[in-house]
Symmetry: C2
Subunit: 285 residues, 2 copies
């Protein structure tokens, strides 16, 4: 796959960034794109990183070595099933969905023996959506999860890992269910934390938000994310998210009790645990 | 007070920034600084924004038109009481503490008829501490609360308001108890939210933090703040913080129940309320 043909289905922020990064870094020979809406296809046809735009998803995957399904979480498996009969022998299909357990299993089941599904999830993004906000640098120094099943084709897994590395990402291979546990904690729970803080403050005097310093601004940035996208993510990762949320509620409750009891030794111990954890984040990319 | 003499007691990040901003913007004729530790006094004496460094707080306030007590919340009133007998007639004392109710009342009570206490709280800062991290631009476009009591001298209040405006800040005058309710929501609760998220994650696999995207990073930035500083803030604003925390816990509980019941209409409604609130933040300074 030295100069592979890359097909990108339903590009949003991530799919558009995959195309731009692959173009900028020479990770693909041809980049063929399909989008559902005609006006999006028209706009994509004018992008320098787009070799061809097709009228159908089936046409886009014909002749593709690697297919990236960039649709929202609930649209990934229907698209994989739709294009499956049109994939060439040895074609590899991956995705960029935020939840992996069901997608990895159903994606694998949807393809015959000739093609391979290997799930992916790049930890890159923004509260913005849409391919027009994409960037060739989006994956630079970002973790890109690759989530094979025990029955996945090892060569296909290696090619997907190499692809994300070619785009500047840092591939991490984990089983899909472990992935879902991890992102419930480091991505889905923070979204709930930020959105709920804003939802609660929405019930107070609105002018207060204008007084806030950088702390509230940063803590709540991701509350600006698209609720419909997050609905499908929370739906697909419901059990892991509920588990992480309960642990977080327990932590808050512990601090509340300590503060109510004026147990400032315990209050400080909890703040210290948080600071120690935060201080060991690797430097920002 | 066209070229007033400014005294700054116990400068940290905020006090150092007050001095630098006052120097850069010509808001003070002389800037006299006192710090408790001799090595800090030595370093301060070499700063271009420092007209003089004194050995005692009492010496610093002698001849000052405006005194800014920049000590941590639990050290403000002891310092005001200590320097009170040494203030000139008509001198104004303010502070930069994050909690205002008790400080406003006790500060007013500590001064005789000749001098005036008017509490302040600039909503500027950082997870960093120390005067060496200060900046002349720190208050630019930042809310600076001024919290008079009904019995405060109106001319003194007007001068403190004008001082923060001179430093580039945006003064907002509110009663001290209302200030404490506001910051419990927009500053103290976000600190608890971020610290507790990190404290909970500290109990999970540490390597997970290296996988996180920008969302977790931003949501938890302020968890890096100094726990001892926050202990005194939470202690002084305990009741308001507990009230805000309970409302936040109710919000989280509502989302948890909706997710547990697969009531995705309710899940989306809560995420939407959060997004709508967040989308109306004024642009970052």
């Amino acid at each position: 796959m030295s100069s592979p043909t890359l097909a990108i289905l339903a590009p949003g922020l991530l799919g558009g960034s995959v195309a731009q990064a692959a173009h900028a870094r020479g990770a693909a020979g041809r980049i063929v794109v399909w989008a559902r809406r005609p006006e999006v296809r028209l706009a994509l046809a004018h992008q320098p990183w787009c070799s061809a735009v097709t009228e159908s998803a089936e046409a886009a995957v014909a002749g593709a070595d690697l297919v990236v399904v960039a649709a929202p979480v609930d649209r990934i498996i229907p698209l994989v099933q739709q294009v499956a009969p049109h994939l060439g022998a040895g074609a590899i299909v991956t995705d960029v969905g935020s939840v992996k357990g069901e997608i990895a299993r159903q994606g694998h089941a949807a393809l015959g023996d000739g093609a391979h599904f290997v799930g992916s999830h790049p930890m890159a993004g923004s509260e913005k959506t849409g391919w027009e906000h994409g960037s060739a640098e989006l994956f630079q120094h970002r973790t890109c999860f690759v989530t094979p099943l025990p029955e996945s084709n090892p060569a296909a897994v290696a090619k997907v890992v190499a692809f994300w590395r070619d785009l500047g990402g840092e591939p991490v291979t984990v089983p899909p269910d472990q992935h879902d546990e991890i992102v419930a904690h480091i991505s889905h729970l923070p979204q709930i934390v930020a959105s709920s803080l804003c939802a609660m403050l929405a019930g107070k005097t609105p002018a207060w938000r204008n007084y806030a310093g950088g702390g509230l601004r940063d803590t709540t940035r991701i509350a600006g994310s698209d609720p419909q996208l997050w609905r499908t993510i929370l739906e697909q990762n419901r059990e892991e998210v509920l588990r992480a949320l309960r642990d977080y509620q327990d932590e808050l409750h512990g601090l509340q009790i300590a503060l109510a009891n004026r147990d400032y030794h315990e209050v400080v111990a909890r703040l210290e645990r948080g600071r120690a954890y935060r201080s060991q984040f690797r430097p920002a990319p």
